[in-house]
């Protein structure tokens, strides 16, 4: 299948430091790719580069077209980017925040159109934040903010979703809820890239797992092929138990090497 989003020899530098170098990665429609790696491996930089937010070497192709040649507006319709942190700078209502996701569709300053409303409400419902719609976003808990942030991305109905640590602040239940949501989007034909820290969740949700280290892809493929003792030792510097429980791969870090 042709990749919806493809990185070819992608690199990025910060000052004189190389943060990302010659990364090749393709994400197809219907696929959920999980990116893992130790701190400072370049995961966030890769995602930002894919989102077209950073200049650098190589090419990012959206549906075969070079990212720089796609207008920002069109790119915004195709790619939904969920940054880490889930920060909101003004105390807007949750409904207003989620409506920001409609900006690429022309819902900038004017009233929301009916299509926009349907999309916003669908996103609120999907993320279980409909009851929060009237709340002020800055008063929400970390987990609620994370779901609102995701709802904002979903409201844009993007074909490609780039989520940087979407479940970082969430309790166990909502980690499943959010990742199930992303997987459902993939099943519905979207291409998903999600950065995760939890290796078992990566194994569980990744159709493919990309292991980053030192700005490069150290390993890539099916979860079982990537999450090996050798790879984890070489990149994370940990010893881990890797076992299959209830038919699923479970990775439990045991000690730092």
């Amino acid at each position: 299948m042709a990749a919806l989003l493809r990185a070819e020899g992608v690199g990025a530098t910060l000052g004189r430091r190389t943060i990302l170098s010659s990364v090749d990665l393709g994400v197809s429609a219907g696929e959920m790719v999980v990116v893992i790696g130790p701190n400072g491996a370049g995961k966030t930089t890769l995602v930002r580069r894919l989102a077209g937010l950073l200049p650098g070497d190589g090419a990012v192709l959206i549906g075969g077209q070079r990212s720089e040649t796609v207008s920002p507006r069109l790119r915004a319709r195709k790619i939904g980017y969920l940054p880490q942190g889930h920060v909101f700078h003004w105390p807007l209502s949750v409904a207003d925040v989620v409506a920001l996701g409609r900006i690429p569709h022309g819902a900038g300053a004017a009233e929301l159109g009916s299509e926009d409303r349907v999309a916003v409400l669908a996103a609120l419902e999907a993320t279980g934040t409909l009851d929060l719609a009237d709340r002020t976003v800055t008063t929400l808990s970390g987990g609620e903010r994370a779901r609102v942030a995701l709802a904002r991305v979903l409201a844009g109905e993007p074909q490609i979703i780039l989520a940087d640590e979407p479940v970082a602040a969430l309790d166990a239940r909502y980690q499943f809820v959010v990742l199930d949501l992303l997987r459902a989007r993939a099943k519905a034909g979207a291409a998903i890239v999600a950065v995760l820290h939890d290796l078992s969740l990566a194994a569980r949700y990744g159709d493919r797992v990309v292991l980053m280290n030192d700005g490069r892809i150290a390993a890539e493929g099916a979860p079982a092929a990537v999450l090996t003792h050798e790879n984890l030792a070489a990149t994370f510097g940990i010893r881990a138990t890797i076992e299959t429980l209830e038919g699923r791969l479970v990775v439990t870090p045991q000690a730092a090497l």
């Binding site: 105390p91 409904a95 409909l130 942030a149």
Partner: protein, 348 residues
């Protein structure tokens, strides 16, 4: 999904809640404008003001209204409007309610530009070079500050940098006054710098207005961008906002608006800080819907302040810049106090 829309019709329609805010503020500005034409050493009734404006009354009233008070009222509305808009835009861009042109040292820098022109008598004080020089001064300060701030600087950095720029501009202004060939002209300038709308003519209006209007045009178009910036710069960019263009428009817009205002009225501070703050709760903190109400509130504030200086009995008329600072600075302190925890954190 339609059932959902039907179940919660209130959800996405609350945007109309503040429907009366803009018309109300417009009415307030018009009222204050007319009041401003009636207030002064010779108090005029509303009827006399109307007669004076239309030229149907006696000659004295006509002169007072048209020649003395009309320019002053127009400048108060225009400058207040542009400062309110500039404050709202800067706050939107930096995602912080403490941002304002004065905080950036823009008025001081603009004043320095203007003083340089007058003090050395290169150009007539009533030429277009004055606002241009003021604008360049403001441009330098705002541009420099955004450069220092970068995408993620803390507000503390911005405030400190703004303070440094203000001080530098102030010192440079003093130096220019010292070195000015004509000390009397210099003294006049120093007094004028305090910010006043007294004795301004239509010529001042014609000099300032094009700059102020151009500035407002640049500042008013980025509401959607400011709203998107609620999510931070990366997310806003991912929503298709061209942040470099937005930044450029805001910097130029603030420089034009502040430059035009300072060139004819001197430095008038804190309107850009106070005006957005006053109306923000009424637009539910939405930085896009804040723009027009903030501008109108700025116009109302400055016009009201300019009426106040004419009512307060004093040997010499109190400078309007003094009044806005007396109101604005304490509010600024309160705001800093309230945001002090955020001040140590990041803006972005």
């Amino acid at each position: 999904m339609d059932t959902l829309t039907a179940a919660r019709p209130d959800l996405l329609r609350a945007r109309a809640a503040s429907r009366w805010l803009v018309p109300g503020l417009v009415a307030l500005v018009i009222l204050l404008f007319l009041l401003s034409l009636g207030v002064g050493p010779v108090a005029l009734s509303l009827g006399a003001v109307a007669d004076g404006l239309l030229g149907t009354g006696d000659e004295a009233a006509r002169l007072i209204v048209r020649e003395i008070r009309l320019p002053r009222a127009i400048l108060a509305v225009a400058i207040g409007f542009s400062l309110g808009l500039a404050g709202a835009a800067l706050q939107g861009l930096l995602r912080n309610p403490l941002a304002s042109p004065s905080l950036f040292g823009a008025p001081s820098a603009a004043a320095f530009g203007a003083v340089l022109v007058i003090a050395f008598g290169v150009f007539d004080a009533l030429s277009y070079f004055l606002p241009i020089a003021a604008m360049l001064g403001a441009l330098l300060s705002v541009g420099l500050l955004l450069l220092i701030a970068g995408p993620r600087a803390s507000l503390l950095v911005i405030i400190l940098a703004g303070l440094a720029i203000s001080s530098l501009a102030g010192a440079a202004t003093s130096l220019a006054l010292n070195l000015a060939p004509n000390p009397f002209a210099a003294l006049e300038i120093a007094f004028w710098l305090l910010g006043s709308l007294e004795d301004r003519s239509m010529q001042h209006v014609f000099i300032a207005l094009p700059f102020i209007a151009a500035g407002c045009l640049l500042l008013c178009v980025d509401g959607a961008a400011f709203r998107a910036l609620t999510l931070g710069e990366d997310a806003a960019a991912s929503l298709g906002i061209r942040l470099n263009r937005v930044r450029l428009r805001v910097v130029l817009g603030v420089a034009l608006a502040v430059g035009g205002g300072v060139a004819v009225a001197g430095t008038i501070g804190f309107v850009g800080l106070v005006a957005p703050h006053l109306v923000r709760p009424f637009v539910r903190h939405d930085p896009a819907r804040l723009m027009w109400p903030a501008a109108l509130a700025g116009a109302a504030l400055l016009t009201a302040a300019d009426i106040l200086v004419r009512i307060i009995p004093a040997q010499n008329e109190i400078k309007v810049g003094v009044v806005t600072a007396l109101i604005g600075a304490p509010l600024f302190i309160v705001l800093v106090f309230r945001h002090r925890r955020g001040l140590t954190g990041e803006v972005a």
